[in-house]
Amino acid sequence: MRTILVALIGLPSILGFVPASQDDDCPAPPPPSASTAAKRESPLACDRMALSDAERTRHFDELGPTLRKLKKSVRELSDGYEFEFPADRASLALVEEWVAGERVCCPFFDITLRLEREGGPVWLRLTGRKGVKHFIEVDGAAWIKS
């Protein structure tokens, strides 16, 4: 399947973890370098300083529940999960906003946002090192349920 990889809201390092694109017109993103986050392994923990009270409330109490309701399907991956969202602009904006918060609060996730061409689905992929998939299954059971 041909896909278009889109970097959104200043998440350039995410692209370092995206599988190479098969789009002929789009150069493959560079592989992760030794100087990027792959070198650092933050604990499976939340950074309690990353979000302000208002941002935390927005992230966990508004965006999270809203996206769970919007979720259309789930794919299990070897090292995590991938969630499908509607392709409309409003849904995409919510996913983008959630990604920006999650990235700073839970830096242990590899986050990939993939927008299929021709207005196709929006896919949010959450993966990571050993333990991350299990963590998603334990704490994100509501996300995984169809």
Binding site: S42, A45, M49, D53, V138
Partner: protein, 192 residues
């Protein structure tokens, strides 16, 4: 001005200057981007504190003198904390009679999240002590920038080890067993 008065003033200024950074650091958590000065390490006496429990009682860490304490900083909004909590409940059930106390310090400090603490711990059948934390206590434990963070405190009141982030249940149990062991028998302090 007499030399004795000058000396007294100089002494007071010196003492105030020395005290100021201490007070500041005790009240202000370090920003996330600032490298932390780690004062909590194995062998150091665990800083005492007093916090309100979810039952409305004031509880001091020193109330557990002579017990082995697993001091767990967590929050209801923290996914890894939620994933870890059932393990803590199991470990408390298993090792309570051996002298283990688990003290959960909730860092749900804002008006939205704090009211969720009691319903959450009731839903999860948490039987160990839960206290409402604050930044001042977190600062005494190196700021606790990550949740969950657990400190293992021996029956002598000294830090045995620390875990930042969620490990495995087995790792947590090993940490508990090391902390429960007499100081002279401890080896390989847990450290994340």
């Amino acid at each position: 001005m007499r030399p004795g008065v000058l000396f007294g003033v100089a002494l007071a200024v010196t003492a105030a200057a020395a005290a100021f950074p201490t007070r500041l650091s005790a009240q202000s958590p370090p920003p996330a981007a600032t490298p932390r000065i780690r004062s909590i390490r194995p062998g150091v006496k665990a800083p005492d504190f007093q916090l309100e429990s979810i039952d409305g009682k004031m509880v001091k860490l020193s109330d557990f003198k002579g017990k082995t304490v697993l001091l767990n900083f967590w929050a209801t909004w923290c996914g890894p904390c939620r994933a870890e909590m059932p393990w803590l409940v199991d470990l408390y059930t298993k090792y309570r009679d051996a002298g283990l106390e688990i003290v959960g310090v909730s860092m749900d400090q804002n008006a939205v999240h704090r009211p969720r603490v009691v319903p959450y711990i009731r839903e999860k059948n948490v039987t160990y002590t839960i206290l409402y934390g604050n930044d001042r206590v977190a600062a005494a434990y190196d700021g606790v920038p990550l949740l969950p963070t657990s400190f293992f405190i021996g029956s002598d009141g000294k830090i045995v080890g620390e875990f930042e982030g969620i490990k495995t249940k087995n790792d947590l149990e090993l940490g508990v067993l090391r902390a429960l062991a007499p100081p002279e028998l401890r080896s390989g302090a847990p450290k994340s």
